[in-house]
Amino acid sequence: MAVLVLADHDGSAVTQPTRSAIAAAGKLGDVTLLVLGPRAAAESAAKVAGVAKVLHTEDALYENGLAEPLAALLVSMAEGYSHLLAPASAAGKNVMPRVAALLDVQVISDIAGVIDADTFVRPIYAGNALATVKSADPKKVITVRAASFDPAAAEGGSAAIEAAPKGEDPGLSNFLGAEIAKSERPELTAAKVVISGGRAMGSAENFHIIESVADKLGAAVGASRAAVDAGYAPNDHQVGQTGKIVAPDLYIAVGISGAIQHLAGMKDSKVIVAINKDEEAPIFSVADYGLVGDLFKVMPEFETEIGKK
């Protein structure tokens, strides 16, 4: 079977969640990766382990990831593939259901496991249940939960790069602009260490307490929905059911009580640390190490302590 994977990339390399999707796709068949953008991204994609072929175009139509032309392109390419996959990123989740509907199949979102070519495991109810579903559709259109699949190695492959077909422009939408935060920190879903703040942070300014620890640890910064709702952190920092799903080696929850919707986004982390002044906070029930204390006192101490060798 041939499997088509839609890549996310940063202009020079495919993202780690894309490499997780490649790993999931590898369980299903030979992987063809579709890379839309600079040639450099396609060249690095060709080196990813387990990629048999890269299809590439620099067509400006796909430059901004508009769902309508992108879905049309994927549908035009669908015939040769049994499965179409994308990472469950904002881009993948935006376009894949559109592709599925155009092919008259039910999209299978955010899979956390591959049982066989038709059968997949996916979390429902904020990860409080895992459903095993079998698709009766002739083609499967899938988004992949990156945290559930170890990413394919970035090096080791030597796939051929071929030209992707030219697609139609339905002309339904225009890209006006974007404000993408520039950050030296790693991306939330790819970071080995994530440190997140909750409502107890008290203000957006106070998040610097977390940010400066993050910079010492090379960590990404996350937030609970409560902190996002309160305006302390941007929405794309949100970890949880309706935000990002992360599974780093170390997750540090600071002033986060641990609502089920937040736990849904981080409970697969390898080691969880909870710092909270309420010793009854539910976050402690999933934490490997809990420290009861006032974050404004604990965090500066923590920063000093990790600075010592």
Partner: protein, 249 residues
Amino acid sequence: MKLLVPVKRVVDYNVKVRVKADHTGVETANVKMSMNPFDEIAVEEAVRLKEKGAATEIIAVSAGPSACQEQIRTALAMGADRGILIEHDGLLEPLAVAKLLKAVIAKESPDLVILGKQAIDDDMNATGQMLAALLGWPQGTYASKVEPADGGIKVTREVDGGLERLQLKLPAIVTTDLRLNEPRYASLPNIMKARKKPIETLKPADLGVDVSPRLTVLKVEEPPKRQAGKKVGSVQELVDKLRNEAKVI
């Protein structure tokens, strides 16, 4: 501008769901049900567009068992003008719901459909995109701002790393993200008024739509439980454990 707002009946946000003993699904008997929170945001946005004079009529639609009337009434109490219930007792997947909505849209001809980005029960994040595909309409998913502009709409979207802005032709589909607005509570007088607003009931067969599921749920299980670890007494102890026991820093 005529607006259509699909709303889903789901297990309430605050309920801790339990997997059924026979592993066929989760327990929904005697559990509090509510409108999907993202759909509340959709209703609120529609009502605000109407209050600003940008919309003339709001139709709330729900597909599911007859009890979905409760969620339609909630939408009517928030400010929607009338409701449509597509009554069906079995499981409805996003593709089936999108087909039902497409059939309703063919009759009602709205200019804009606003719905939640994701239902908090199946977490599929799909109905809006699938509906847009079936209609051949543009989609503005994960919206944090919606403004009528230049004969179409301008949508600000929450994407990885920040925000992006799109101009969509009408008719269009918008799906809501958290920061779009804060939904109002319906006032008692408005709840009373909502009782008099009309709800039309249809069946999938009336709309000529086959709603058979494409996915068979083989089993539903609880995820592996995480064991609570230990409390540490000091920051020094914590850092020591992370360095020497867990070896993660």
